[in-house]
Structure formats: structure tokens, C-alpha cells
């Protein structure tokens, strides 16, 4: 590791980046979590998935949420979407407390959530139709958003005829056509191959730049988080708590060329420190304790591969 050459701190920001964060802070707070907590009872008893989550997100910010597995990232997204009920604290959108799902928060899921019985166009029209738009109006909006995600040609195809990346584009269009204030994305590119994922990330940044939308993006991919986010919310597991809110010092506009830049590496180093600290052996999590592989040799002793 060349820690000597780039022991630049993730806290160091160039003047340009600092000025940008100052501007962001001046914007209106659009989403605020105050002592947000979520616990539920399972067979193992009471589980506290989220505890005392506090953050403020400003208009048109791009926030990524990362954390070790089981830290409640997805629970946080589902709670913000209103699909799961929070058990304590409150959640404010434009300073008003919200409960349950609503048109002001759109969501893109990891799995394919398109309606398989509807064509691509009708999938995108679904939201406006449910919210009282007439057919023609909904169709016009749907075609506009399909154009934006580059899928006009597939308007009359069914979801199963599209590739994984294309389906997620449709899911994004379907969420955005409703003109939500906040777009929640729960590992939306998790099931895509590496190349498609990079393309989708760049595409998402393009959309975000051109649309009045605030994005909360859940991911387990640290590179993805740094590449996309203004700020990264780092959670820790058992219970899910906010560990740190990191301001990403990598300047915008972002490009895949920045993956090797000192700011990028410093941020990644910090994230790795937070998420995978060197743990003493007895602090294995429960899953690892339960699964102990016992390797036997199935080949002849002289048949070595290394």
C-alpha cells in the first residue's frame, strides 16, 4: 500500500468542493430523521433494527447509505418509503411529519419490481393513473420519461423481454414520472454485472443533474457510494446506528477516471476502516459462528494446484 504517498485525509476538501458543500447547506432541508428507531419482534425476540437515527438531507443532494450486512440499510430505505412503520422518533419531509407510503417518495428496488402484465409504457403510466391523471396525460408523461431513460423504442415491450439494466431504467422512469421529492433506491444495481452497473451509475448521475430530485441510495459497494454521493451515511450493525456522515471530497462532475484519485482513495480507506475494522477473533458475528466449514481433502496428496 502506498499510504506514504496519499495519506491525504478524507476530511481535506479542495476550495471548490468546500464551496459546493457550503452551497448545499444553504439549501432547504427536504428530509429529516429525528431519533428514528425501528424494532420488531421475531422468533429470536425483540430485534432493534434501527436506533436513534438522525440526519438532515438538503434539496437535490445525493446521499448514499453504506454499512456492514445486517446494519439495517434496507430497513432504513423501507422505513423512509413508508413500507415499514418506524417505532420511535419521526421523519419529516419539508418539515412535515409523514407516515406510510406516499407520492412524495419514489422507490427503486433491487429485485425486478416492474408489473409483468403491463407493457413498459403502461408500467410508467401506472403511477400517474393511480394518482388521478387521465390516460392521455399519463401516456404523454410516460413517453417523455421513457425518452429520458433512452427506452422509447421499447414502449410496447413487456418487462421480461428487457435486460436487467433496461428494467432498472424503466423502474427509475416509473418512480420519477410521479414527480416525487425524494427517490429512494435500495441497491438498485446490485443484481447487474459490473459493466452495466458502471453505465447505470453514470446514467443515474445524468438524470440527477437534470431533474429536481433528492436521492437516497442504499448500496454495499463502497466504490459506487463514493462515485455517486455528495455525502455518505455510514451505519453500523446491531443495532443500526449512524456511525458517521462523510462529505465526499471527490470533485464533481464525476467520471470513472477518478477512481484512483487521492481523494477517492482516502474516502474509501476511511469507509473500510469504519465498516471492516480489524476485529479480535471472538467478535465474529453470529452467522460466522454458526457456519464453520470443515474442509476435507478430496484429491490425491500429490495432486497440488498451488
Amino acid at each position: 500500500m502506498n499510504n506514504q504517498t496519499d495519506n491525504k485525509s478524507y476530511l481535506e476538501q479542495s476550495d471548490e468542493v468546500r464551496a459546493r458543500f457550503d452551497r448545499i447547506r444553504e439549501r432547504k432541508v427536504i428530509l429529516e430523521a429525528r431519533h428514528l428507531g425501528k424494532s420488531y419482534t421475531s422468533q429470536q425476540g425483540n430485534v432493534e433494527a434501527l436506533r436513534d437515527i438522525n440526519f438532515k438531507i438538503h434539496r437535490r443532494e445525493f446521499i448514499c447509505v453504506v454499512g456492514p450486512s445486517g446494519c439495517g440499510k434496507s430497513t432504513l430505505a423501507r422505513t423512509l418509503a413508508g413500507l415499514d412503520q418506524h417505532s420511535s422518533g419521526e421523519m419529516l419531509i419539508d418539515d412535515k411529519p409523514v407516515n406510510g407510503p406516499g407520492q412524495d417518495r419514489g422507490m427503486v428496488f433491487q429485485g425486478y419490481s416492474l408489473f409483468p402484465w403491463l407493457t413498459i409504457k403502461k408500467n410508467v403510466m401506472f403511477g400517474p393513473r393511480m394518482n388521478g391523471s387521465c390516460h392521455d396525460e399519463a401516456e404523454r408523461d410516460a413517453l417523455l420519461w421513457l425518452e429520458l431513460v433512452g427506452l422509447s423504442k421499447f414502449a410496447n415491450a413487456y418487462p421480461h423481454q428487457l435486460s436487467g439494466g433496461m428494467r432498472q431504467r424503466v423502474a427509475i422512469a416509473r418512480a420519477l414520472v410521479n414527480q416525487p421529492r425524494i427517490l429512494l433506491m435500495d441497491e438498485p444495481f446490485g443484481a447487474l454485472d459490473a459493466q452495466t452497473r458502471i453505465k447505470m451509475q453514470t446514467h443515474l448521475l445524468d438524470i440527477w443533474r437534470n431533474v429536481d430530485i433528492t436521492i437516497v441510495f442504499i448500496t454495499h459497494d463502497l466504490d459506487e457510494a463514493i462515485f455517486l454521493a455528495d455525502r455518505i451515511l455510514v451505519l453500523k450493525a446491531n443495532p443500526g446506528e449512524v456511525q458517521e456522515m462523510i462529505e465526499v471530497p471527490v470533485p464533481r462532475p464525476r467520471s470513472p477516471a477518478q477512481f484512483g484519485s487521492p481523494e477517492f482513495r482516502a474516502t474509501k480507506h476511511r469507509l473500510e476502516e469504519l465498516i471492516h475494522p480489524y476485529e479480535p477473533a471472538e467478535e465474529e458475528d453470529e452467522e460466522e459462528k454458526a457456519i464453520k466449514p470443515h474442509l476435507m481433502r478430496f484429491t490425491h496428496v500429490t495432486d497440488n494446484v498451488e
Binding site: 423501507r78 418509503a81 413508508g82 413500507l83 407510503p101 406516499g102 407520492q103 417518495r105 419514489g106 422507490m107 428496488f109 429485485g111 425486478y112 419490481s113 416492474l114 408489473f115 409483468p116 402484465w117 403491463l118 401506472f126 403511477g127 393511480m130 394518482n131 413487456y158 418487462p159 421480461h160 423502474a171 416509473r174 418512480a175 410521479n178 429512494l184
Partner: protein, 324 residues
């Protein structure tokens, strides 16, 4: 990599595959027919009886009579002892196992020649009567069962309220309600339809509820985040989402309705295909009995194939149906 040759060999494999499949489908019907023919036409396989052509000296034999082989042998020995002419005959199967060609002939004559008994209905009239019973039984069951099943699957309150009782009720055998159905609904078609409803409905509710529960929750959640109201969630997401599976369930349940038909038709005044079968069996026209039973099979299997084809047209997005 050589894609062209890979593709060619793939399509050839596919071609062989489809031919192999067609051959297997054909064989699955031909093999039982072959077995039946072997038993019917090869005397050494079974043929436990003797068909008497000339009674000889045996006073109680007459031409056309079927007797056990052992009896025939004893009487032949008897006649030889008494120096009378022995009976003549050939090996035959019991009356209840007609040969394929006899059944085929009965199948044809059932539609062309009027029935021997004057007041008896034709085979096609009996069949049509049975089909109307099945139709109304299944429609009535579905009108209640499908909505109730979908509601039970969609709402846990509904499920807990209805399913324990239905689970209990479905173990009560439908024919047990026969006498009750006659007392309440009379002796004609209504009690028969009622038995089919009782036999189908309770299974239907549980199966449809289970199908509804298997709908991918992500789809429902996606609809919720798009601002769908509870009522519209049911009509615009859950129902269309389960439709291909619901259709498949209905096809299977229709098959079950057919299995209740024979019992149902024995209730009150016997009617339909059951009346035809019991009458023909009484007069020992077993070729007609087999023809009627096969007709049920052909109608059931035929409708299922047609409904399967229709399903593929109706639900072009359904992946699981393409595999059929």
C-alpha cells in the same frame, strides 16, 4: 469460439428434441393401447373364459355362452366319458373386458344408432347434460370461491377469519351431503350441482388464497410507493398479478369438478353420463360403458389442452406457461 456451428447444432438438437417429445407423447397413449390389444387379441396372455360355439351334449350350455375354462374342461371330460359329443368353443376374455375394436365400434354406433332402450337418451345427450351440470357447478363455485380466495390471500384478517373453518369443511366428503342436498334442493339437477360446488368450493378458496399469497411482495410494495390505494391495489395489482396462476388453478379445479360428477349424478334421479353408464352396464353392454368413460376422458383432456393454448394467448407475459 465458433458461434455459427454452435447455433446450428443447437437448432438440430432442438429439432430432435421436439420430435422426441412428440414421439413420447404419442407413446404415452400407444403403450396402454398396445397392452390392451395384447390382452384382447393374444389368447395365451389371459383369456380365462371359453365362448361356447356348440354346446354338444351339455344340456345347460348354449351357443354364445361364456363359461370358466375349468368348467369347460370338466364338461368336455364328462361328455367323453358318456360318449356324447363334447362342447366346442374358443378362449375368450370376461364380458367386462371388450376388445379395442368393439369399443371403437360402440363409440361410433353410440352417435349413429338410436339407443336400444326406447326412453334412454343418446350418448351425446347424456354427455351434454353432464357438461351443463359441471358448468353450473364450477361457475357457481368460482363466483364465490375466487373472490373469497383472493381476499383471504390478500388480507391476513380475512384469512384468519375464513380459513380455519374452510380447512375443516374441506375434509367433509362432498357425497356425504347428498341426502341433505336432495332434501333441500329436490331430486333433479340442483342437488347434483350442489355436490359439485361443495366438492370444489372449499379447495378452490384455499388454493386461490395460496396463489394470491405467492405474489411477489416487491410488486405490491412498488405499487404502494407509487401511490396506489388499498382498493386499487386489489383490482389493479393483485388480481392482474396472479391472473396467469389463477387461470392455471382453475384448470386444475375444473378437473376436480369432473371427478365429483359421477357421484353427483347418482344423487336424486340418476342422470347424464352416469345414467348412461349404469344402464349400459346393467344390460352388460360393456363396450358402451368403455366408450362413455373414454368420452369423459377425451372431453376433459381436450378442454384442458384448449384452455392451456388459450392461456398462452391471454397471458403473453407469463414465463412459466411457455415451458409447457
Amino acid at each position: 469460439m465458433n458461434f455459427a456451428s454452435g447455433k446450428n447444432s443447437f437448432s438440430l438438437a432442438k429439432y430432435l428434441q421436439t420430435h422426441r417429445q412428440a414421439l413420447l407423447v404419442l407413446s404415452s397413449f400407444l403403450l396402454p393401447l398396445l397392452l390392451w390389444s395384447a390382452v384382447s387379441y393374444l389368447p395365451f396372455i389371459w383369456h380365462p373364459k371359453m365362448l361356447v360355439s356348440d354346446p354338444g351334449g351339455v344340456d345347460y350350455f348354449h351357443a354364445g355362452m361364456l363359461v370358466d375354462k375349468s368348467l369347460f374342461k370338466d364338461e368336455t371330460a364328462n361328455m367323453q366319458e358318456q360318449h356324447l359329443s363334447p362342447p366346442q368353443g374358443e378362449p375368450a376374455n370376461p364380458i367386462y373386458l371388450p376388445a379395442p375394436h368393439q369399443v371403437a365400434k360402440a363409440f361410433y354406433t353410440a352417435f349413429t344408432k338410436p339407443p336400444e332402450q326406447k326412453d334412454m337418451p343418446w350418448l351425446h345427450e347424456s354427455l351434454w347434460h353432464s357438461i351443463t351440470i359441471i358448468f353450473w357447478g364450477f361457475v357457481l363455485s368460482s363466483v364465490v370461491g375466487v373472490p373469497l380466495g383472493v381476499l383471504s390471500g390478500a388480507s391476513s384478517t380475512m384469512s384468519r377469519l375464513s380459513e380455519p373453518f374452510i380447512e375443516f369443511f374441506r375434509y367433509l366428503p362432498a357425497p356425504a351431503f347428498g341426502a341433505l342436498a336432495v332434501a333441500v334442493l329436490g331430486i333433479y339437477d340442483s342437488p347434483k350441482i350442489a355436490i359439485i360446488v361443495i366438492g370444489t368450493l372449499f379447495q378452490q378458496i384455499l388454493i386461490v388464497a395460496n396463489t394470491t399469497r405467492k405474489l411477489d411482495p416487491t410488486i405490491v410494495e412498488a405499487a404502494l410507493t407509487l401511490g396506489t390505494s388499498r382498493l386499487r391495489l386489489l383490482t389493479h395489482v393483485i388480481v392482474p398479478g396472479i391472473l396467469p396462476d389463477l387461470y392455471r388453478d382453475q384448470r386444475i379445479l375444473l378437473g376436480w369438478a369432473w371427478t365429483y360428477l359421477i357421484v353427483a349424478e347418482l344423487i336424486g334421479t340418476s342422470s347424464g353420463i352416469t345414467l348412461f353408464i349404469t344402464q349400459q352396464a346393467r344390460y352388460q353392454h360393456f363396450d358402451n360403458v368403455y366408450a362413455a368413460i373414454m368420452m369423459i376422458g377425451i372431453i376433459g383432456f381436450g378442454t384442458d389442452i384448449l384452455l392451456g393454448r388459450l392461456g398462452r394467448r391471454l397471458f403473453p407475459w407469463d414465463k412459466s406457461q411457455k415451458k409447457e
